[in-house]
């Protein structure tokens, strides 16, 4: 890898940081520039809706010296990229223009905001450190909290509010939450945790207005209910941050579309993380994940491939995410598109369970509640392309072993 080349990484978060680190680890000794819209050094997001809301500190992934000196990265923070020219091989950010030999697009996703809230104070999304700090301050002040959206982030916020003994209501437009993430039955099973945690969950009802004088005072629902609120947190999904790529010539379709090596089709340009919709060879289709593990891994793969396209390696993965609610841990591996879901251990009303997902005769997913000792074993099975029968057999063996050890 000849020096004198320039790697530009746009998006200074998890995928971007891992891109930079992998580039250096693979021996790249050219220039690296990391462009990030936020003024902060790269930091981790999952804690924002978990321990950070409880008051814990969140240091950046790496100190500034490590980035600048050990990794030799030029930082352009607080500077959103606004345009990409794939012909001239340049990225524009503010007044500056950066020429690149290799480019990793890692701009992630932005939280979808509640429409028509008229800039009321006390209404937040939860995506950035600044968002989380604002939500934490409101919780510190004992806010009556309304969460819009019973997805993972909304549910974690509700859980954090309950931990402090605050009143919290979740409003969810769908009849069952998390259907896209884990499917219908299991969405219901996860939602049941809210009742046990003391959170009121209202499904199948929309928000018709968020009102107040300068700051939020109440939330009006489509069924006529009025909820008093000092804090409203919208957890209604995220949109891939591709606005700056409009007109660039990259294929954009719910993210930057890539092949299995994370290549975008434009010379030298690869994408990684929440912004990338790539072809996952393990499942034979395009996916865009908003999960920590794949973002971290893709960042590294994208950088290595961008620097050495002739030897580009595909990225395949069994999707994995976790979420912490009311002291319980939900983990999911695989894909939720299924013909059947079967509970193979514990029961849905209890403290822990394991549910397996079948598509045809293949094991394609596993959802666990407090199933840390088991979930990754299923991930391994899915990675190896295990059949449904093998999955069930494995579950039988686990149960038998557990009985014996009692």
């Amino acid at each position: 890898m000849s020096s004198g080349r320039h790697l530009v990484v746009v998006g200074a978060s998890l995928a971007g940081l891992r891109a930079v680190e992998a580039a250096r680890r693979s021996g790249f000794d050219g220039r690296i520039t990391l462009i990030g819209a936020e003024p902060h050094l790269p930091y981790d997001r999952p804690p924002l809706s978990k321990t950070f809301l409880d008051g814990e500190d969140l240091p950046p992934f790496r100190g500034e010296e490590v980035l600048r000196e050990e990794l030799g990265v030029e930082l352009a923070l607080g500077a959103a990229a606004t345009a990409l020219d794939i012909g001239a091989r340049t990225v524009r950010a503010g007044e500056r223009e950066f020429g690149y030999d290799a480019l990793v697009v890692a701009t992630g996703a932005g939280a979808r905001a509640l429409p028509r809230t008229g800039g009321l104070r006390g209404v937040h999304t939860l995506r950035t450190r600044d968002d989380a700090l604002a939500v934490r301050r409101a919780l510190d002040a004992g806010a009556r909290t309304v969460v819009v959206g019973a997805g993972f982030i909304g549910s974690e916020v509700a859980s954090a509010a309950r931990k402090r003994g605050l009143d919290v209501t979740i409003v969810e437009a769908l009849p069952t939450p998390l259907v896209r993430a884990v499917g219908e039955t299991m969405g219901g099973a996860c939602a049941a945790l809210h009742a046990r945690g003391g959170t009121e969950l209202r499904c199948g009802v929309g928000v018709s207005a968020v009102e107040g004088d300068g700051r939020v005072e109440r939330v009006r629902l489509s069924d006529g209910t009025v909820l008093a609120a000092d804090l409203v947190v919208a957890g209604i999904g995220a949109v891939p941050a591709t606005g700056w790529l409009a007109g660039s010539g990259l294929t954009l379709d719910d993210g930057v579309v890539c092949d299995e090596t994370l290549f975008t089709g434009a010379p030298g340009v690869y994408a990684a993380g929440d912004v990338a919709r790539w072809h996952n060879p393990l499942f034979g289709r395009h996916m865009r994940l908003e999960h920590w593990t794949s973002a971290a891994e893709q960042g590294a793969v994208a950088a290595r491939n961008a620097l050495d396209p002739a030897d580009a390696k595909p990225y395949s993965t069994v999707p994995y995410f976790w979420s912490d609610w009311y002291g319980a841990r939900i983990q999911f591996v695989g894909v939720p598109v299924t013909d059947e879901v079967r509970v193979v251990d514990g029961d849905l009303a209890g403290e822990r369970f394991v549910a397996l997902y079948r598509a045809g005769d293949r094991l394609v997913g596993a959802l666990t509640l407090n199933g840390q000792p088991q979930v990754m074993k299923y991930r391994g099975l899915i990675m190896r392309g295990a059949s449904w029968a093998e999955g069930l057999e494995f579950a039988d063996r686990r149960r038998a072993a557990a009985k014996e050890s009692v």
Binding site: E297, Y320, Q331, V333, P373, M376, M383
Partner: protein, 63 residues
């Protein structure tokens, strides 16, 4: 090569186990245990992936 686990950081999410099942295991109480001290050449790639995939950056390789 030796693997060093920072148990103060490890939260038992178990990614490492799925990537290098011969080396890491989350036991029945949810704690990470090491199945081996020495890493074979076969395990090395998986261990590298586990280090990259660990969400709490609890794993390190030492010569």
């Amino acid at each position: 090569m030796k693997i060093v686990v920072d148990y103060a950081r490890c939260t038992g999410l178990g990614i490492c186990e799925s990537l290098a099942p011969g080396v890491f295991e989350v036991d029945d109480s949810g704690d990470l245990i090491m199945l081996t001290e020495t890493i074979s050449a076969d395990d090395l790639e998986g261990v590298r992936q586990a280090i990259e995939g660990c969400p709490t950056e609890a794993l390190r390789l030492e010569p």
